[in-house]
Every structure is written in structure tokens, then in C-alpha cells.
Symmetry: D2
Subunit: 136 residues, 4 copies
């Protein structure tokens, strides 16, 4: 299981004293990007790389709040579904409890923001990934 680490920053909190919910999509992105880089399908210097897997849909479900200074772990798994790519996330907070789960659906876009086919190297990577059906 691929795990991305993130320490909650002061500026990610809101006046309720907890992490603002919009940041969870950013934590998921952090996990997805690190995963894609680890798999060799995202080159930070190359704008036509996997950074162009545009977000088509996102879902987040919050189970417990997270707090300033928490050391989060974001587990991620990905698979292909036709010309879309699905990622699922589990976000672990204090005491390793699951604080949020989520899902994003992506479509590959060219530099002109038009739909393309999923590149072969990304397809190949996704075929080798493990996927647990009942994860969320």
C-alpha cells in the first residue's frame, strides 16, 4: 500500500480549530502525485505528464476531524476503468485512526485541455497495481 505523509500546517486550520475540509482534496492530490512520481509516470519538469490527469469527479467522506501538527498518512490505490482512472484514498490521523476516505475520477487531457487516450505507460503501470474492492 502506497502511503503519502503530510504534517498538518497551521495555515490549513480554520476558526473551528480543525483542518478545513477543502484541504483534504489537496492531501489526496499530494498522495496521487507522489504515487505517480514513484511509479515513473509523472515528471515534475514536463507539463504534458500525468499532472494532466484532470480531476473529473471527487468525493470525500469525513469520519473524524484532524488537527494542527497531526502527522497524516494518506494511502492511495488506483485503477483504470475504460478511459478513466480511479483513485481511492484512506486518510489516517492521530492514533492511526481513519479520519477520512475519498475517491477521485480522472480523465487524461492534452495541453490544449482536450480529451486524449490514456497514455500506454500509465496503462501499463495501472495494470500492475493491486486494487482492493471493498476499501472505502
Amino acid at each position: 500500500m502506497f502511503i503519502h505523509r503530510h504534517k498538518v500546517q497551521f495555515y490549513e486550520t480554520d476558526l473551528m480549530g480543525i483542518v478545513h475540509h477543502s484541504n483534504y482534496l489537496r492531501f489526496f492530490e499530494g498522495a496521487r502525485v507522489e504515487w505517480a512520481h514513484a511509479r515513473g509516470i509523472l515528471d515534475y519538469q514536463e507539463p504534458g505528464s500525468a499532472s494532466h490527469l484532470a480531476v473529473f469527479e471527487s468525493q470525500v467522506k469525513h469520519l473524524k476531524p484532524t488537527f494542527f501538527g497531526d502527522e497524516l498518512g494518506v494511502a492511495v490505490q488506483g485503477r483504470r476503468e475504460g478511459n478513466r482512472i480511479i483513485f481511492e484514498y484512506r486518510l489516517y490521523g492521530r492514533n492511526n485512526e481513519i479520519c477520512a476516505v475519498g475517491k477521485t475520477v480522472h480523465v487524461p487531457l492534452g495541453l490544449d485541455l482536450k480529451l486524449i487516450r490514456i497514455p500506454a505507460d500509465i496503462k501499463a503501470v495501472l495494470e500492475k497495481e493491486q486494487w482492493t474492492e471493498t476499501w472505502l
Copy 2:
């Protein structure tokens, strides 16, 4: 229909030249907060007010990208479902096209972040709201 206006800021864009997807949850929040204030159930100075309708679930579906300088309109509708509150959103961009739709589910929390019952004034407001079933 309640419409919140937001002009896309430079800092809301990302290196693909479009609005970063995490900002849509912020635009939805802007609409929800303005709606709650207009209905008299959110007092900005009062921490125990509707700002404590914590986000339990969120969903966003992106249909078209939005861009720097776009004058967005975010339509919002809300209803109660037991002890939860549901909001649905339509985000209009250039040429008044629907660029995104979304939904958030909220639970009322006390200042100690523990679940409470939906306050009577919020209930009363929601009973008078119109709700279109097939909106998204």
C-alpha cells in the same frame, strides 16, 4: 434560486492555467455561507452559529474548466434529511454554462465538536426552502 457571485482570482489558478479543483469546495462554501447569512441563521460574530454545520461528505463533478477572471455564479439549494443537512450546487462559468455541480452533507456540531440536534431556527428555515429533486 440563491446565487453567490465569485470572481476567479489569480491565486486560484494552477500550472494548467485553470482553477485548481480544490477551490470548488471553497466556492460552494462561499455560496452556502452567504445563503445561511441571507436566511438569518449564520451570525459571523458568533462561533456557535451555522458555521458549525460541519462538512460530513462532499462531491464535485467537473464539466468544464474555469479560468482566471471568470465571473462565477454558484446556485445553491438546501434541505434537511433527518439530522443532516444536504446542499446542492450548480456552478456557472463563462457564457452562463454549467461548469461543475456538487453536493455537501452536513452534521451540526457543538463548540466541542460533538454531534448535536439541528437547531430549531435552521429547521424552520429549511422547511420553507424550495428543493428541485432532479437538479444535479
Copy 3:
């Protein structure tokens, strides 16, 4: 005096219950962009426009905190200094009190992020601007 209006959003607060200081640079940018658009030197659709007045230096001084729901006014004035452009800001909060002042220094960059000369149309606009020396 050019004034940009901004209503403080929930997501702009932090766990101290006030607006996070990094947002002030965003409020200043909002004022600067709106000013440039009003003066006809920023075209939102054109990446080679005044959006490329890159920030070289910034300074903010906080006098009073600002809060969720505050209706801020950000006054801005600009002038040229050789090949640089200086903007100064006054941020008004509740009861029209000055809550922050600031300054940004900009250099014109081409699309390749290399230094260019200030375009003639921007120069012409700045020559007509009023500048109050003892503003901050």
C-alpha cells in the same frame, strides 16, 4: 483612490479565529489585478498581459486582526520606479479602520520568465496615476 472589496471567507481563517496572514498578499493581489483590469492593462484571457508583473518584493504590516465575514476594502496606488512598479495598499476592516498596510515591488517578465522592459501602455497608465508619498 481605487478600492477593491473582499468579504472574508470561512476558509481564510485559522485556529486563532482570525484571517491567516498569508491571505493578505492574496487580498493585495486581488486589488492590484482589479486595478490593472480597470485601467485596461490586464486582459484575463491573455497570458502575456499584466499578470506577468511578477512579484519581486512584498511587505505587510498588521495593525489589527480581521475576521470571518468582514467586508474588507483594499485601497491601492501604483507608480513606476525605473523598470520596476511599486504598489502600496491600505486594508480597511470593521468600522473602516486600517487593519494592515503593505507594499509590493514588481518586475515585468516575458512568458519565458525572463526580464523585459515595462510595456509602453503600462508606463502610460502609471504616469497618469496619483501617488501620495506618505500613504503608509
Copy 4:
């Protein structure tokens, strides 16, 4: 020299393809918070701790842009000046080049946002810190 590490996230970029300037104040905060935690004067769970060293002034000077995926290093040094605390920052980007320098001035606030005296433990820590006068 205390160094805080930060990997540039996709959502920290803007449509110019570089890190948005407002994020540098967030990177500085990340360094300052980590420094304070390492020195034992910031307890993440305790709202009356050093998180209440409110930002009074900030300055940033940008020397080179930073980019998506860059592994930043933020060096920080702090000292006391009467009832204020000064932090200075050097931000290192690609090839270990200095991309930005900055300074923040802080005042200690109580939970009611009123000025207090710098707590003795923070004073003691700052007296032991090294300070290089010509750092920026």
C-alpha cells in the same frame, strides 16, 4: 542552522507555472513552527502556545522562481528584540540556490488577542540561538 523541508505541491503553483508568491509566507511559517516545536516551545495541542506569536510584519524578496516538485529547504534563525521576536529565512530551491529571503516580526498575544509579555521559556530559548547579522 535549522532547515525545514517542503516539497512543492501542484496546488501551490499558478498559471505562470511557478509557485504563487503568497505560499512563501506559508513555507516560512512551516519552518518557524517546526523550529519552535524542535525547541520545545510549541505544543500542537495547546492553543496558548507559541502559535500565538502573531505575525506583526512580514517581508519577502524573490530572487528566483520555484517550481512544482521542487524540494525546498527553508533555513530559519530567530532572536528577541524587546517584546518582539524576529525570524529571518533563506529559501533554497533547485541546485541549492537561494530563491527567496524573508523576515517576519512577531508579537506575543494571549488567547483574547491582547498583547502579553514574551513568556520566559521562549526568551530562554532565543537567548541560546545563534544569529548571523548579515544573513539576508
